[in-house]
Subunit: 87 residues, 2 copies
C-alpha cells in the first residue's frame, strides 16, 4: 500500500514523531512523509505513533491507496525530499 | 478529482498561500488542504499558487486521485479541520 502521512504535533513531540516516521517512510516535505508499506508495516507505524503522540492534542492523518498507481503527484516550486534536504 | 495539497512555504508567504488554498479546498491540518475539484478548478488553483510562491524556495505538493473512493483516510489523535479550528 502507498501511504502519505501528515502530522500536526506539538513541537516537543516532533523529534519522536519524525524519528518514528523515518523508520518506515521517506520524508517529502515539512510535516509530510510518504512511501510504500505492507499492511503489517503500516500497523506497526501507526501503533508506534500512538505511543509517542498526545492523542488529545496531536493529529496525524494518513492517506492510503492500494498502489501509487492510483495517485498522481505534482510539485509546484522546489522539490524537497532529496537526500540533501535537512529535516 | 480528489486533491490533497501540502505546502512548505516561507512564513511571509503563508497567508497568501492559505488564502488561495481556502478558495478551493478545505483545511485539514497545518499545511494540509483537501477537497474535490474539477480539472479546471485544479488548474486555476495551481496557477494562482504559482503567482504567490517563490518557486526557487517554496514547495507545494499535490496528490490527486480520480475520486475519493481510491483513497482511505485515517486519523490518529485529534481530528482537526472542523469548523471551529483556527487556521
Amino acid at each position: 500500500m502507498f501511504v502519505i502521512l501528515v502530522y500536526d504535533t506539538a513541537a516537543e513531540r516532533n523529534p519522536k514523531v519524525l524519528k518514528t516516521c523515518r523508520r518506515y517512510l521517506h520524508w517529502t516535505q515539512r510535516s509530510v512523509f510518504q512511501g510504500e508499506l505492507t499492511p503489517a508495516q503500516y500497523r506497526a507505524l501507526t501503533n508506534a505513533l500512538e505511543t509517542v503522540i498526545d492523542p488529545t492534542y496531536d493529529s496525524i492523518v494518513t492517506y492510503t491507496t492500494r498502489s501509487p498507481d492510483y495517485i498522481e503527484t505534482a510539485t509546484i516550486g522546489v522539490t524537497l525530499g532529496g537526500p540533501g534536504d535537512i529535516l
